[in-house]
Amino acid sequence: MAGLDPAYAAVYTFTVASVVLVAYAVFRHSRLSSTSIGPGRLAGLAKDEARRFTTGDPVFLMHLSIALGVGLSIANSLLDPVIEYAPLLRTLILIFSVPLAVGLAAAFVWRVQVFIKSKRVEKELRSSDSFTSASTLLQGILILAIGLTTSELVLLWLPSLVLVGGTVGVARNLLVAAYYSRPSVNLIGYFDRPVSALKTPFSLGDVMAGKIEPEQVHVGVGKISEFDASQKLSYDSCVEIGACEAACPATASGRPLSPRVLVRKVSLLSRTAGGEQADPLTAVGEDELWSCTSCGACVASCPVSVKHLDLIYDLRRSLVARGKLDKEKSAMLENLAQYQNPYGFKSSTRGNWAEGLGIDTLAKNPRAEYLYWVGCLSSFDQRAQRIARALSKILKQAGVSFAILGPEEMCIGDPARRLGEEGRYQELAYQNIEKLNSYGVKKIIATCPHCYNALRNEYPEFGGRYEVVYHTQLISDLIRDGRVRVPADRIRKITVTLHDACYASRYNNIFDEPRRALDASVSEVREMGRRKEKTFCCGAGGSNYWYKVPQQRSIAGIRTDEAAKTGAKEIATECPFCLSMLDDATKVMNTGMEVKDVAEMVAECLA
């Protein structure tokens, strides 16, 4: 102990006070936003961080270094007066400090580079000067906090400079209390809210049952005050880390959207005078909102659990409610209303792809074990129909009992919901559920991840509860169980790369199964850098398939380049939309690569 040195005593007192301040700030924000941050949440978070640690993702490791570095230096500063009586603890702290300091130093360098990139993005987006300076300030504080913590860990090794270390710690703690308590609460409160979680603004069922009056249905957000407490916490928690921007395909393609800038603009607007009454659409552009493919990369990559997508959907709903739809978008919605598919084809031709294949409709064979939910693209698009035929071939060989709805199937509604037309989505959802329930459907197979996601994660809320399996999962199970056999001599000698569909991998954690299916049917699979839950979108999601947004290059083109770089001859997809986008891009770019669904690749190997 440094005895009763008054300088030491003063620094120590400030240290304790600043730590109390941090604790108070965290407590206060959890109360203000009614976010639970109890021990159960903390334990859950620790478990989740441990899981992510094992993935070895460098960006995550840097963020973990920051969090643990701050934690370690706070612990050390509090223990400092008694640490000389616990030499083992001191040694442990010193040992731990080394990797953390390295992680922090890496984070520092990385952060500076992110900062430079972010200024380039802001320039492209023509952000206002006030926005740019607010952003620079916040990023500067982040870099400063990282720098302070790094030097504090280094100073641990120099006991003679304990007062310097203590002072640095106090400064850092004040920054944490002022800027990082909110994100901490947000992280603890919402780290486990899945990417697929989507707020349901109202329930058509309640309206039909007379539980609420149609006039009470409120769609979209016209004023900042209409965001709920957890949303406000979420947007105010953005500390400009920039992970979302780095992951966002819209930003990468030069579209007028950066999820970081979007969230910050709304947060800054809410803090202006009269901000609570301000209309978020005064700060956000229409094309900015339409640029999003709903791929979820922003939400998944944010180290403090900001939920950008909630904001995007709320504002898209406002655009729809105000009739801000161009011809392409309104034509799609009109087609959904008139024809129950987004293309405007006759429902009666929905089952035509199955003609002559001996596939029953549920009407004919209501006892089939599985319903195969085909989806619109595979029903009407001749290229995508081959996916449906390939899956049917596999199921027949494996002796799986299945049927389709044929003309009775309707669009699942995802294109309407992602566009912000919640009413039309729910109309379709309720009709589909009524149909499925009337047949007593229990198990469903899907070949489109958008259909899968809706059936699995969204329909239960409206009364549709089914066991939903993705085709790649079922195929890989059938291969494992020997019900589908690919003879060794039929395995194709070819190199393929797999493009994970966002709605299968990031939204629903399906990524090992398609790989197993490919391993059984082709000689070599080469991976792209961005894969599994870190996949890069094809550009079709979020209803983007149906309209154009200004951009510098196409998202599908970026992805095709990445696929070509692996040297693979074929791209395997698992989503009819991905197939359509990448097929188009490979042709336009003349890469000579073929694009096929995993089901097609497996079916090709069967006799």
């Binding site: 392409e328 034509a331 008139q338 293309y343 405007g344 084809f345 693209l377 009407f380 698009d381 001749q382 290229r383 995508a384 398939y545 149906w546 309209y547 154009k548 359509s580 042709k587 336009v588």
Partner: protein, 309 residues
Amino acid sequence: MNHVVWAYSENEGVSNEVASAATDIVKGSPGEVVVVEIAQPRAGIRAPGGRLLLKGPSSADSPGVVAEALYRAAKELQPAAVLVGATRNGRETASRLAAKLRVGCMSEIYNLSSDGQSLLGERNVFAGKVVAKVTCALPAVATVKVGSYPRMESAPGGTRELDVGGVDSPIRVASREKKAVGAVDLKSAKVIVSAGRGVKKKEDLAMLEDLAREMHGALGCSRPLSSDLGWLPEEHHIGLTGVSVKPDLYLAVGISGQLQHTAGMKDSKVVASINTDKDAPMFQASDYGIVGDLYQVVPALRRALSAHG
């Protein structure tokens, strides 16, 4: 309220159609049909029952101004119905007028009649597949489907003027410019020749342009030709992310027929296609198909066309 029906359109030809519609409603007693004009009388206007010239507004450029002028006049003269031609501006004028008068507004109507209590008519719904009979209590506003009535021929009767006072508009017409030459109006073309990637070079498009002209049609294309190759401007591209068309004849030349393309032309009356690949999906969406090389078929087609004059 009296039994007078007003007819208005900012377009002279359409105004004469609306006058016919109004005459139908009053069952041929032309004294009860009044053609309304705003600011200036126009030479081509036919108004057997006379016209009503509303003075005050400086021009009839903006639907907001027209609606306000019609509103002031209607409050004073109480017509039974106001019919407006269902042009782009007319639709806006009518809806604004109906809102101001707090009466019902029927849109895109034809076969109009009245039983003295209500206005009756028909309109196309579900993309023209179904005809809905609609009715609205008088007084009422309606837009008349363009092209559904013959143009009134008889000479104009007398003109009466009414000063409705000045109407301010936030909109000023700064200038008028002609549509850029080359801009196609695929939507109204009766015949469309559409080029796909089967066309090997940009220069070869001239051949198809000639064919389109000889068939009194317009040239369209699949997306790759406009978006990816840039051979034609964006507004030529037909399909899901381009224009939707429904011509009487759609001739697809060297187009494979992906859903993204056919989604934009599936409502065409007759579809014909030329493709070297007999399995091209385009043939499934076609009434007539020629399996063959467009570089042979198109010149042959042009020769045949010129032989038939």
